[in-house]
């Protein structure tokens, strides 16, 4: 009985190890290939990177704007009204930096990107596997790490970083402008408080977090897409796994980075 139990734990551990190995291998090999591989094909790969930036970054602007603006309004109204009652309105800057820039900005942007682009990446690659399109690329001597993985990786990293900064900016400025109908605190005072509480570490952490999230989302989605073998019924299952695992990775890495920088 004990033996079976230990065997199960061992197998599960090996499976997890294999999964982590696969994910990290995919990440490092694609970077390595791009840095050391054949320069030919770079022009067409650059075009794919641009398409990824357009889809993952630019096309996500409307949804990011709405969510950040509404969240900004709620946080500003809630915190300013409460803090003013106890005469601690100077704290508003700190609260906004923590919520919009350090924590909610990167996390919510990552969740939106998982929903929009992570699913799209896993589905697209899964369908390409089923239709033998990946095999066809290989048969033409096209490196799939360079042609498929790298553009999605770079597209997701750059987009997540830019969208996170955009999220925080729109959330704070736009949120204040809308909330100013309800508030008595002047614009100049609001920004003096905000910037006096902002440190360069906050910006670095936001950029670092979003870069890690972008990398995690793209690699996990690509990995699950590539895992599909023959049947199109595997595609939705792989997409679900990609979403769930990307969320777990994002929250875990968020926790790790926060602990590393602020404790």
């Amino acid at each position: 009985m004990e033996k079976i139990f230990l065997e199960k734990i061992g197998k599960s551990f090996l499976k997890k190890l294999d999964y982590f190995g696969g994910i990290s291998g995919l990440f490092f090999y694609s970077l390595w290939e791009m840095l050391t591989g054949d320069r030919r094909g770079n022009r067409i790969v650059t075009q794919i990177v641009k398409k990824q930036l357009l889809f993952t970054g630019y096309n996500a602007l409307p949804i990011i704007s709405i969510i950040s603006l509404l969240l900004g309004v709620v946080i500003i109204i809630q915190s300013v009204t409460q803090l003013m009652q106890i005469g601690a309105e100077d704290m508003i800057g700190k609260i906004l930096i923590i919520t919009m820039l350090r924590e909610f900005g990167p996390i919510l942007t990552a969740i939106i990107i998982i929903g929009r682009s992570g699913t799209a990446i896993a589905t697209e690659i899964g369908n390409m596997m089923v239709a033998h399109e990946i095999e066809a690329l290989e048969s033409m001597g096209i490196d799939t790490l360079k042609f498929i993985v790298f553009p999605r990786l770079i597209g997701a990293i750059v987009s997540t970083v830019c969208l996170t900064i955009y999220f925080a900016t729109v959330g704070i400025i736009g949120g204040f402008l809308i909330a100013s109908f309800q508030l008595t605190i002047p614009f100049s005072r609001f920004f003096t408080i905000l910037f006096s509480n902002m440190q360069i570490t906050d910006l670095i952490v936001a950029i670092l977090k979003s870069a890690v999230f972008g990398a995690v989302i793209s690699i996990v989605s690509v990995y699950h897409g590539f895992k599909i073998k023959l049947s199109s019924t595997e595609v939705p299952q792989a997409t679900t796994k990609a979403v769930v695992n990307a969320l777990i990775f994002v929250f875990v890495s968020n926790g790790i980075i926060t602990v590393l920088f602020y404790i």
Binding site: E138, S139, M140
Partner: protein, 229 residues
């Protein structure tokens, strides 16, 4: 024929898919010579398509040896494998065109990726290929909007546009209309005449009777017979 250079050499090849306990290929040994037009026949499920993918380097062998132009595909480096893929072409049974690229982009993809020729020449070369398959009016359509026969023709010219030294064809004319079959067979014959090695998995031997050099028959998951037509 023996004086010709061996381009593909297979020695005691056994193969099974990782998820399968049964071997799909058992003790396969054969040679294919440069410039030959070889047809592989046999009942369905005998591993012919798998064999084609193994000798083309799309699936790597684990038991036995497969040499392409003297390079052993077993344990081959990625760099060497890419080199082999670059000088070979593969026509897939289900065409395998890139679904989000139009016909023109599909055909020019290998040329543009490998940057074999300047942009202007690529354009001309692709136009020439499109004309060859009479698809001038469909060149900006996505693969989903053209017929199966047209998809197969696009897949064929995409494989040929880099002037490969060997082309692997997996059921190139199966389930196609008469016109598409005629165009495909004509292009395949012209390709053979240029000295390109052709390995064809097909059930329609009679269509290639005028150009076939040898017929390899698979039965019981191994080479049953090798004969001249």
């Amino acid at each position: 024929m023996d004086a010709k250079k061996t381009i593909i050499k297979v020695e005691n090849l056994n193969f099974r898919y990782p998820e399968d306990t049964n071997y799909i290929l058992k003790d396969v040994s054969l040679k294919i010579y440069q410039g030959e037009f070889v047809i592989i026949i046999g009942p369905r499920g005998e591993g012919k398509s798998t064999f084609l993918k193994i000798i083309s380097g799309l699936i790597l062998p684990e038991e036995g040896n497969v040499f392409y132009d003297g390079i052993n595909l077993r344990g081959i480096s990625k760099k060497d494998l890419m080199k082999i893929h670059k000088c070979t072409g593969f026509v897939f049974q289900d065409s395998a065109l890139i679904s989000n690229m139009n016909i023109f982009d599909n055909i020019e993809l290998p040329l543009r990726y490998h940057e074999i020729m300047p942009e202007g020449e690529i354009q001309k070369e692709v136009e020439k290929m499109i004309k060859l398959i009479n698809m001038e009016n469909d060149k900006f359509h996505l693969p989903a909007f053209i017929s199966m026969g047209q998809q197969k023709m696009v897949s064929l010219v995409r494989a040929l546009i880099t002037n490969p030294e060997t082309v692997f064809y997996d059921e190139p004319i199966a389930n196609l209309d008469k016109d598409s079959r005629e165009i495909i067979v004509k292009i395949m014959k012209q390709t053979k005449e240029k000295g390109v090695t052709s390995v064809v998995v097909t059930h329609e031997i009679e269509e290639f009777s005028s150009c076939v050099d040898r017929i390899i028959e698979f039965r019981n998951r191994t080479v049953y017979d090798i004969r001249k037509p």
